[in-house]
Amino acid sequence: MVHALERIRQLLEPDGGLVDIHPSGEPPPIEVRIGPQATVVGWMKETDDFIEYVQASAALSQAIERGWFDVERKGTFEFSTHADSVADLREHLAKEWKDAILDEAVAARAEQLLSAVERDKGLIVREQIRIARLRPGDSYGPT
């Protein structure tokens, strides 16, 4: 990962910038929404236990330590995924979030709550996303 940042540094103008967006690595809560009320029924898991996001943060820190980039700003935002049913969420995960694991117990709890009402209901997965703006540092990577 840090080599990717080194390559990006080489491809940027000296007065350019880098915006990095990646998940925080905290397991996202899964909520069942009934009307305006949301209940957390569990947390999403990943096959690698979100280690890739921790590694992404570590790579950024390493690139900063090496002087390739300086941090201008850091922040976080929430990225939510809304599904009408557990089946829809499963289908989405299979296509777009292949290393996600939806625990059977969590799915069953969600199904139970969703089946109690006819309409105005759904599932929400809330991910915390890190965003940072960096500028090229004084130290250039090898070209």
Binding site: M1, H3, A4, L5, R7, I8, L11, L12, E13, D15, G16, G17, L18, V19, D20, I21, H22, P23, A56, A59, L60, R73, G75, F77, E78, F79, S80, T81, H82, A83, D84, S85, D88, L89, E91, H92, I129, I131, A132, R133
Partner: protein, 98 residues
């Protein structure tokens, strides 16, 4: 619509806030996928190159590219380590891809 991603539009708001003005800028988007974020800013940029190692995603991005952006948005199937552009960029966007 069984799945809705970021209906609050938090991601584009954060990106616009952190990227600043893109007017006249050459932008490299690494991990552009199917262009989900690209369309949000490409309108203002001078030139955009979106790269992704996933050929299916790039095919979708090319197919989905609005006609008026086709002259200044280019997509390539490649990883950043193999990418050899002819000029440098003003802004790089690492989109969920580090």
């Amino acid at each position: 619509m069984p799945i809705r991603l970021d209906p609050e539009a938090n991601e584009p708001a954060a990106f616009v806030d952190f990227a600043g003005s893109l007017t006249g800028k050459r932008v490299l988007e690494i991990g552009c996928g199917d262009g989900r974020l690209t369309w949000l800013y490409a309108e203002n940029a001078a030139y955009v190159v979106g790269i992704d190692p996933d050929a299916e995603d790039i095919a979708r991005a090319i197919a989905n590219c609005p006609p008026h952006l086709r002259e200044r948005v280019e997509f390539r199937v490649t990883a950043i380590q193999e990418f050899e552009p002819s000029e440098k960029f003003d802004l790089a966007l690492l989109s969920w891809s580090l």
